[in-house]
Amino acid sequence: MTDEGARPAHGRRAAGVPLDRGEPVTELAASLSDGEWHHLHPASPLLKGGIVLIAVIGIVISNLRERFFENLVPGANFRGEDPIELLFREGVFGWALLALLGVLSVLVLGFYISWRLHTFRITEEVVEVRSGVLFRTNRKARLDRIQGINIVRPFFARLFGAARLEVNQAGQDANVRLDYLGSAAADDLRREILRLASGTRAASVSRANGVGPGVGAGPSLGAASIVEQRMHEFLAPELDPDAAEPESVVKLGTGRLIGSILLSGASIFLVVAIAVVIVASVFAPESLIAFFGLIPAVLGVAGFYVQRFMKSLRYSIAGTPDGVRVGFGLLTTSNETLPPGRIHSVKVSQPLLWRAPGWWEIKVNRASQSSTNGAAGQQNTTILPVGNLVDVTRVLALVLPDLLDERLALTGLTGPGAPDDGFTNSPRRARGLRWFSWRRNGFAVTPTAVLLRKGAIWRELVLVPHPRLQSVSVQQGPLLRMLRLAAVRLHTVAGPISAEVGAIDEDAAVELFTLTAEAAVRASGSDTSHRWRSAEGVEYRAAADRAAADRAAADADSHDRTLP
């Protein structure tokens, strides 16, 4: 990998490169994020399907070459003779080779052109990608609207030391993809984009220890050390070695992972299906055919198990200065950084079968709905696939850093419900609507978030931070009115969580409505998470501005300032 996809495109200087950009995290990142157009990793077209295409063509030709040539050359009949032999005998082998070369060079040229035309740039404000040969597309992502940056390393690309960088924006599949970049380049670039987006001017992490034989070291490496480097990348932990807290706060053991998957709804389905088949065959032995009906079900469930397992393996979650970083995957890995304030609501839930081992799952609502196939797709909203209460509190502390009243959250998870346990619960008259959970069904409002506690059999706790609340509503239908109850719904961006609490006392509901409506206004007014580190950098920036002013004054007469 000589240049890790970091070549500046010719002759296109971005207009208005800002003068003071702070200090980039690494040289590589600096060269990629200088506001000019760059090319991606040279192997990108191959990784994006070129190799598959060539392989498929190769397989087709090698298997069907007789048919292939018969169709290609009308009237030809090889009579069981090998076409290559025939070509030799007829003395046209040279021509055939030439034709093959021609096809190959057209393919290579096509790949080359598509690579040439696929460029990206990163400025202070946007990440922008241009691509396409016949149909040009141009996509921009504003840095302060970034919802998350994902680095996906499909198995095949990993072998080549390449990675795909996805800058997620709010909306359905509104992501800007840089596929592919060199592995090290992707990591550096992510930190650099996050640094630019955070609004801070100071370089967050200095990479003084020189981990990561990045681009500079590339050309001088011998073949053996390249292999070594690939191995290193392959086996390295998913988290950046030099990120602030590299240690994953949750250790997801293989045993627990397997257990959690076995105790899922799919297993119940399988057990029920098997029971039905057994009962059927006992009472009607001639209906053995039912066993064959079971096979697809078993295969389906097994496929689900394997998929869940592979995707959740090597799970890690850690806090970095620029947000929560979640990694998944064994062969194809994905590793996403969610900047602060990008998590719109959090649900901690416990399926019935997980109750005995005391396991919980955490899902989040996010503004970006990514349907990326590969590791990211399914896990996009699951932030903790399985964990015990300790893990849950750790993850909650990461995703909602200033929320946590830990005791209240724990009460929300496991509390059986009592009149004064911090939650305002359903009154006794709600029994008819919440048979088992009326004691527990309720809400609590803290200065930073709303907690909704629901369910006695399927227990769950929904947390909505005030600054992410879009609107709030209170509803009452005829049935609820008869019981003087009401339902409150907190509206956040769409996702797997719907933050609603039903069957609470109507006065309490109005109180919750009023409180959250006020809190939402207050919180969204003072929220700076779109430039999450802009607040802390104020003094620094003031100093930098002063310095810039001084420099400008000094430079006033010497007019040829070079752009940085």
Partner: protein
């Protein structure tokens, strides 16, 4: 921001009903009742038309089916004034509160900073009556606030005011 419309009235506080304290609701135009009723006439015609096949197959109960359809719509129509009266909104200092529904009541509060866009819709019927419908879109699909039956001029005025408010309190997502 509170006292803008002289025709405001407070909802009679019936016991057992959810109500928000200290809010004087601005009501939508009375002409909206007409629009709703005209819409219901169309519905009645369509429903009655849908029973036509029953006559063709010669079912004895066909007239009753038609009658039932029309009766259902009439029942709906009888409550229309009350339903329209239940629609209300108020521009508070920092958010818009909206209510609607008699049987199924719903109150929504949307902070101005959360509004992503504001639509004005006018159907053919409302256009004849000079009414507009204002729709608010936030990042949450479930917000679902639509104020129907506003006089066209008032709707535009309201939209401009709200856009300005939203602009001054613009926040991230």
């Amino acid at each position: 921001m509170t006292e803008q419309n002289p025709s405001e009235d407070t909802v009679s506080t019936v016991t057992n009903r959810v109500d928000l304290p200290a809010i004087t609701w601005r009501r939508v135009s009375g002409k909206y009742v007409v629009a709703e009723l005209l819409g219901l006439v169309v519905t009645a015609v369509v429903l009655a038309g849908a029973t036509a096949p029953l006559y063709i197959i010669g079912w004895d109960g066909a007239p009753w089916a038609t009658l039932a359809a029309v009766g259902f719509v009439l029942l709906f129509a009888a409550f229309t004034p009350r339903r329209v009266q239940a629609i209300g909104y108020q521009l508070r200092d920092d958010d818009l509160v909206f209510r609607r529904g008699v049987l199924h009541q719903r109150f929504v509060a949307v902070p101005y900073g959360r509004m992503q866009l504001i639509d004005i819709n006018r159907g053919p019927l409302s256009r004849v009556l000079g009414l507009s419908e204002l729709r608010f879109v936030t990042a949450a699909a479930s917000t679902g606030v639509t104020i129907p039956g506003l006089p066209a001029a008032e709707a535009e005025e309201l939209r401009d005011a709200l856009v300005e408010l939203a602009e001054s309190r613009r926040a991230g997502l």
